[in-house]
């Protein structure tokens, strides 16, 4: 079974077609690289997979299910509920003074016990007894606005990145996006958030669940940092780390999510040869842990060295796909991207 299926993916931004009918399949435990000249649309593919961009056409299928919030009957029910609640609130608000007078002022007498039952009863009878009460307009407007607004918010969040993340897809970014003012350890702990179960009251009141999870989480986070070789820097602010270490921290943070699929966007950018070799070993170790890796890279040594398969993108279209040997020799790839020297190496 394919882990990830990109089916006829097309992403258009206004007049610009960034990705054009891309078909790509990724099997579990593979290392697949996506290469191509700058502006070919590689990061856009990543963004579509992780839910940042909405595909203009085509689908992203991960573990057999499409990565978006489907429209359930449950969604329709909650939209209706929302509209209903808003309608009621508006009715209440439109009549609030009159209601207060009917319920409280009419019944309250200083120093005498308050007749709660009658007061509540008069709230209910207010609408039946009172012909001038505002009922239809606020209710109607409330239902329409409430349901419509909820729908608008829901539509916006259909392909929110968090859904892809919770499904098991983690990523790093081309221009490192760490949380600068948090320590390395905190960054990794943040990555682990989806696996933590404590709610805000556990945190605020320091209930036992918090302490249990806290200890386990810190241990796992330190283990993650050890895995990428960052343990000594655990308490350093992310923005104070050296560049190469920041790249590794991003990988650690992504791994903390316990993903099945890891998307690495130019992880070797700006690295010297020694660091590149370490990176390649790291990616192999990630694969050994059972994680599938999908990689964007320009460093040909890395790409050719660790990939099982390579897909080549040019101007948004896939112009070649295959194992490293095949891609190296492909004429179109050479013309568009690699250049003659690569072929001769």
């Amino acid at each position: 079974m394919n882990l990830l299926e990109i089916k006829t993916l097309t992403v258009r931004f206004g007049g610009l077609t960034a990705v054009n009918t891309l078909d790509l399949e990724i099997q579990p435990h593979e290392i697949v690289s996506l290469i191509g000249p700058n502006g070919a649309g590689k990061t856009t593919v990543f963004n579509a997979v992780t839910g940042i961009h909405e595909p203009t056409r085509g689908r992203i299928v991960f573990k057999g299910a499409e990565v978006c919030r489907p429209f359930h009957w449950r969604t329709a029910a909650s939209l209706a509920f929302f509209g209903f609640v808003t309608g009621n609130i508006l009715v209440f608000a439109a009549n609030i003074e009159a209601l207060w007078e009917a319920a409280v002022t009419a019944h309250y007498q200083y120093l005498k016990p308050f007749p709660w039952r009658e007061a509540i009863a008069s709230v209910f009878s207010y609408f039946t007894a009172n012909p001038s009460a505002h009922l239809e307009w606020p209710l109607g407007i409330g239902i329409v606005v409430g349901a419509g607004g909820a729908y608008a918010v829901w539509r916006q969040s259909r392909r929110a990145p968090e859904i892809a993340a919770r499904a098991g897809i983690a990523r790093t970014f081309q221009n490192i996006r760490l949380f600068d003012q948090m320590t390395a350890l905190d960054n990794v702990l943040l990555g682990m958030d989806t696996q933590l179960r404590s709610r805000f009251w556990h945190d605020a009141l320091r209930l036992p669940l918090f302490w249990r999870e806290h200890r386990e989480a810190e241990e796992r986070a330190m283990e993650m940092l050890r895995f990428v070789g960052l343990e000594p820097e655990a308490h350093r602010l992310a923005e104070n780390l050296a560049y190469g270490l920041q790249r590794r921290l991003e990988i650690a943070r992504a791994l903390a999510m316990k993903p099945q699929l890891l998307l690495l966007d130019e992880p070797a950018a700006g690295m010297n040869p020694a660091e590149t070799v370490e990176l390649m070993q790291l990616i192999q170790r990630i694969r050994e842990r059972g994680i599938t890796v999908f990689l964007i890279e320009h460093h040909m040594r890395v790409v050719m060295g660790i990939s099982d398969r390579i897909a080549v993108l040019d101007h948004g279209e896939k112009i070649a796909e295959g194992n490293p040997q095949e891609v190296r020799a492909d004429q179109r790839v050479i013309a568009a991207y690699l250049g003659k020297r690569m072929r001769d190496e």
Binding site: I176, Q181, G191, L196, F200, D203, L237, N240, A242, M257
Partner: protein, 352 residues
């Protein structure tokens, strides 16, 4: 846990000092008694901490926290005043007010969480306006500009607070402040706090890590509003009245914003310090400035320039401008304390 010990100590130090002040007054001459004046500062600090959750931690700029405070004050007043049937005691009324604040925060947050920072700021500004308006207009319930009064004073284990002795009030408010500080601190150093700070730092990356940003922002709104409402409830009990709607205006919101920013965004000790500085400023600097003017007879007493109150805005405004010019990160920014403890220095030049 050592790197955080420094930070943990500071706000507890401030609170401890505050706890000692009434005791010190027992031995100091009357000219040195200023403990009474600190009570409003405690309440503004609670308000500032509420805003801190929204702005300091999560990065959602809220320019209308006075609205939440007003909701708290009026809720407390309606629940305790004897012109209405509820007549709850101090503790249950305060608890209920906090819940009401939570609900109002949610109510405001729901339609606005998708908005970009500056749009949200203007919307919250507008919210501050209309809450004032609504409170004024619904005068059958809120008694309009009269306010709801008188309110019964708080009771604790049978003892009723009075306006003669300020010490019970002092310790009551200080205790509330300490609890709020503790809860905020716990949240900051936990899963929720990390999620909030990540949203402030980089919302998109945070979402890509699986954080449900909408839910976290709503939580920030609700908890921040609840805290501000608490400040309002305590304020109403302190005044013995709900105050009038005009009291909870933009000036209060601005005060809270300045407390958070001047103190150092996101840093709890900073907010406490900020409250002290901002509130203390108007007392100390203003009065001294105008007595200076009068002493040197720089202005005749009928001149508009002579009244001390008339310089309030100018001096405060200048102070803000100067503060931002020379120390925009605030007096006690949260990360600076960390950075001080890591002399490793900045990273190499980043790849652009």
């Amino acid at each position: 846990m050592t790197p955080f010990l420094h930070r943990v100590r500071f706000h507890w130090i401030l609170l401890l000092l505050a706890a000692l002040i009434p005791l010190l007054e027992l031995v100091l001459p009357p000219g040195w008694h200023f403990g009474e004046l600190l009570r409003p500062i405690f309440l503004m600090a609670i308000l500032g901490l509420g805003l801190n959750i929204l702005t300091g931690f999560t990065g959602l700029l809220n320019l209308g926290v006075a609205a939440f405070m007003a909701v708290g004050a009026y809720s407390y007043a309606i629940l305790t005043c004897d012109i209405y049937p509820f007549q709850l005691g101090f503790w249950s009324a305060t608890g209920l007010t906090v819940l009401i604040g939570l609900a109002v925060g949610l109510f405001l947050g729901l339609p606005t969480i998708r908005l970009r920072g500056d749009y949200l700021a203007i919307v919250t500004l507008g919210f501050g306006e209309i809450v004032q308006d609504v409170l004024k207009n619904l005068d059958t319930i809120t008694k309009g500009t009269q306010g709801i009064n008188p309110l019964p004073p708080p009771t604790f284990l049978g003892y009723a607070f009075t306006s003669e002795k300020y010490q019970p009030w002092y310790y009551l408010f200080l205790a509330f402040l300490a609890i709020v500080v503790l809860l905020n601190r716990n949240l900051q150093r936990s899963r929720v706090g990390r999620a909030w700070i990540s949203i402030r730092e980089d919302e998109l990356a945070s979402a890509c890590m699986g954080i449900n940003t909408m839910k976290m922002k709503l939580l920030a709104f609700a908890l921040g509003a609840a805290q501000c409402s608490l400040a309002g409830a305590l304020w109403a009990s302190f005044l013995g009245s709900s105050g009038e709607p005009g009291n909870y205006d933009f000036q209060i919101s601005v005060m809270a914003v300045c407390i958070v920013i001047v103190g150092g965004m996101g840093s709890i000790g900073g907010v406490l310090l900020g409250a002290l500085v901002i509130m203390g400023f108007s007392r100390i600097v203003l009065d001294n400035f105008t007595s200076f003017l009068k002493a040197h007879e720089l202005v005749s007493s009928t001149n508009v320039l002579a009244a001390p109150g008339n310089w309030k805005y100018l001096l405060f405004g200048l102070a803000l401008i100067l503060m931002m010019r020379f120390r925009p990160e605030g007096l006690l920014p949260s990360r600076q304390v960390r950075a001080e403890l890591h002399p490793g220095g900045k990273s190499e030049a980043r790849n652009p």
